[in-house]
């Protein structure tokens, strides 16, 4: 799992590359927590190159969303592959996240 971080104006853009599962969720969790600590939000999570997500990955995203909520932070997801989107749908997570098809849409929503 590779995490690319760029600061774009007022928001942080994170690109996830690879698989987000039990073995790789820890660094993503640490990255998200540190960004929240440093007030580097809102965040856009680009999932175009996210190949797979397991329950461990979902838990990390859910944890980040929960931590952001009381501080009026925002985590939006963009460019989910259909099979990743299906996992979100099965898990019942779609209502919990703002998900956009393009980065432009995501930026406009912030």
């Amino acid at each position: 799992m590779e995490i690319l971080e760029t600061q774009q104006g007022s928001h942080t853009h994170l690109t996830l590359i690879g698989r987000l599962d039990t073995n790789t969720s820890k660094p993503v969790e640490e990255k998200l927590l540190s960004l929240i600590e440093e007030n580097k939000h809102p965040m856009i999570l680009d999932c175009q190159q996210l190949a797979y997500i397991s329950s461990a990955g979902l838990r990390v995203l859910l944890m980040a969303a929960k931590k952001l909520k009381p501080i009026n932070g925002k985590l939006v997801l963009v460019s989910l592959q259909p099979h990743i989107k299906e996992i979100f749908e099965i898990a019942g997570f779609l209502p919990m996240f703002q998900i956009f098809d393009s980065n432009d849409e995501a930026v406009r929503s912030l």
Binding site: D21, T22, Y52, S54, S55, I87, I90, A91, G92
Partner: protein
């Protein structure tokens, strides 16, 4: 609270049986199961052949009701008997027909009852006919009451009724119950052979006679295989005891290592095991849940200690040879691939098939949303709680775990589960526990509008 404890306690060892519903809720009908089609076809053939055999006098005065009904009831009983015996033959080839041994055993129990009731109805019809004709009823119900009495038939009838009643005796040790229960089959087959060779409807009409002979051959072969040939020709795998984990002398895990070939299985299925070194129990086969994942080298069975056989298990020496027959059963999520959201509820030892499923979730990359409920009386009884806690977070599927202790949380209800799962409502439910628990929870979920095809149950009984 005593009744609640009773209702939600597991009945002991992981003796199991699965119930699958045929009718779909919400006003829709599912396709009938293969076993239903089989039974309907067989009864149809029997009825058509009987009708053809009586075509010339089917509307003759005096033929209805009693003569006709007495013949039909015994023929239907004979027909169902062959299904009853075929269902529990434990042959892998029968799995596609019955959908797994656990489903077959359930069918065996319900159709077996119908077989006995039809046999009873046959005798009632004969009594009514006797009263109608003013002949002696004693000749039908009292053996040796007169030279005309069919004493052998009467004695066999009473023997079948007695054995059938004993089939519902729950207190008898399993092996003794099984030993006695086996005799019903041979008595039914013998009775049918006797009926087929007596002068009368069957003997007089060749197509019907041929059909009944086919049924007798099927029944007799099934019975012989089940009683005498299964041990030798059944799906046997040789294992040895690699590790034994005892949970407070209540539950024991046997971890078995394959000696020769490894058995492949679906998570949630079960096996019969035999331990030849147990002198008093060396011939006994007992069914237990598999609680390991098919990707693991060792096979684990989890057993509640309740009887003589299970009481011997904690003292087994490592390396003890163990014979494993299996796998059997259809209580596995892989047969329900379209159900992506599952509520799993295991009560007491009924959690064990879910343990295997959960372990498989660590590796299967088949994402599902799962809500796992482990129902126990209290924390001490929840012997697999820590195992679940230590592994479920790593599962591929998203699992929410709810340890439900009845002394703390009260009685679990379908409504409480539905509230937790809401707003999602398109889930399937898998239930495993005592018969009372499973029956009650299934009823509650049906009342909430969950279609019956989405309620998959397994009872911890094998009799």
């Amino acid at each position: 609270m005593d009744s609640e404890k009773t209702e939600y306690s597991s009945d002991g060892a992981t003796r199991r049986q699965t119930r699958f519903s045929r009718l779909v809720g919400n006003g829709k009908l599912a396709l009938p199961e293969r076993s239903t089609v089989l039974i309907a076809t067989m009864l149809g053939v029997t009825t058509i052949l009987w009708t053809a055999g009586h075509f010339s006098h089917i509307t003759a005065p005096g033929f209805w009701p009693w003569p006709a009904l007495s013949q039909l009831t015994i023929l239907w009983s004979t027909t169902l008997m062959s299904v009853v015996l075929l269902a529990v033959v434990r042959a892998t080839a029968m799995n596609p027909l019955f959908g797994g041994l656990d489903r077959a055993v359930r069918l065996h129990r319900s159709i077996g009852l119908a077989t006995i009731l039809l046999l009873f109805a046959h005798v009632v019809c004969l009594i009514a006919l006797s009263l109608d004709r003013g002949t002696s009823v004693a000749e039908i119900v009292v053996p040796f009451s007169s030279p005309a009495a069919r004493s052998t038939d009467i004695i066999v009838f009473y023997a079948i009724m007695l054995l059938a009643a004993l089939a519902y005796e729950k207190q008898m040790p399993y092996e003794r119950w099984l030993f006695i229960h086996r005799f019903i089959g041979i008595l039914l087959v013998a009775g049918t052979i006797h009926a087929a060779t007596e002068p009368g409807t069957i003997a007089d009409y060749e197509p019907l006679r041929t059909w009944i002979i086919i049924l007798i051959l099927v029944s007799a072969t099934a019975w012989l295989y089940r009683i005498f040939l299964f041990d030798r020709f059944g799906p046997l795998y040789r294992y040895k005891l690699e590790r034994l984990v005892s949970h407070d002398q209540k539950v024991v895990d046997l971890e078995l290592r394959p000696v020769q070939r490894r058995m492949m299985y679906e998570p949630g299925t079960f096996v019969f095991i035999r331990i030849p070194s147990l002198a008093k129990h060396r011939t006994e086969l007992h069914p237990f849940s598999i609680s390991s994942s098919p990707v693991e080298r060792d096979l684990r069975v989890s057993i509640r200690i309740v009887g003589d056989f299970t009481g011997c298990l904690p003292s087994l020496a490592l390396g003890t040879p163990i014979e494993v027959y299996g796998p059997f059963g259809g209580f596995t999520p892989h047969r329900y691939a379209s159900y992506r959201r599952l509520v799993l509820i295991g009560a007491g030892i009924g959690i064990t098939p879910f343990l295997g499923m959960l372990k498989f979730e660590l590796t299967n990359q088949d994402f599902r949303r799962i809500w796992l409920y482990y129902v126990s009386r209290n924390k001490d009884d929840a012997v697999y709680d820590s195992e679940i806690r230590n592994s479920f977070l790593d599962a591929e599927s998203y699992i929410d775990y709810y340890p439900w202790q009845t002394t703390r949380d009260g009685r679990i209800s379908a409504q409480a589960v539905a509230d937790e799962v809401a707003p999602l409502d398109d889930y399937a439910v898998m239930l495993c526990g005592s018969a009372a628990f499973v029956e009650d929870m299934a009823r509650q979920f049906r009342a909430l509008g969950i279609p019956q095809t989405r309620i998959i149950t397994e009872e911890l009984e094998f009799r």
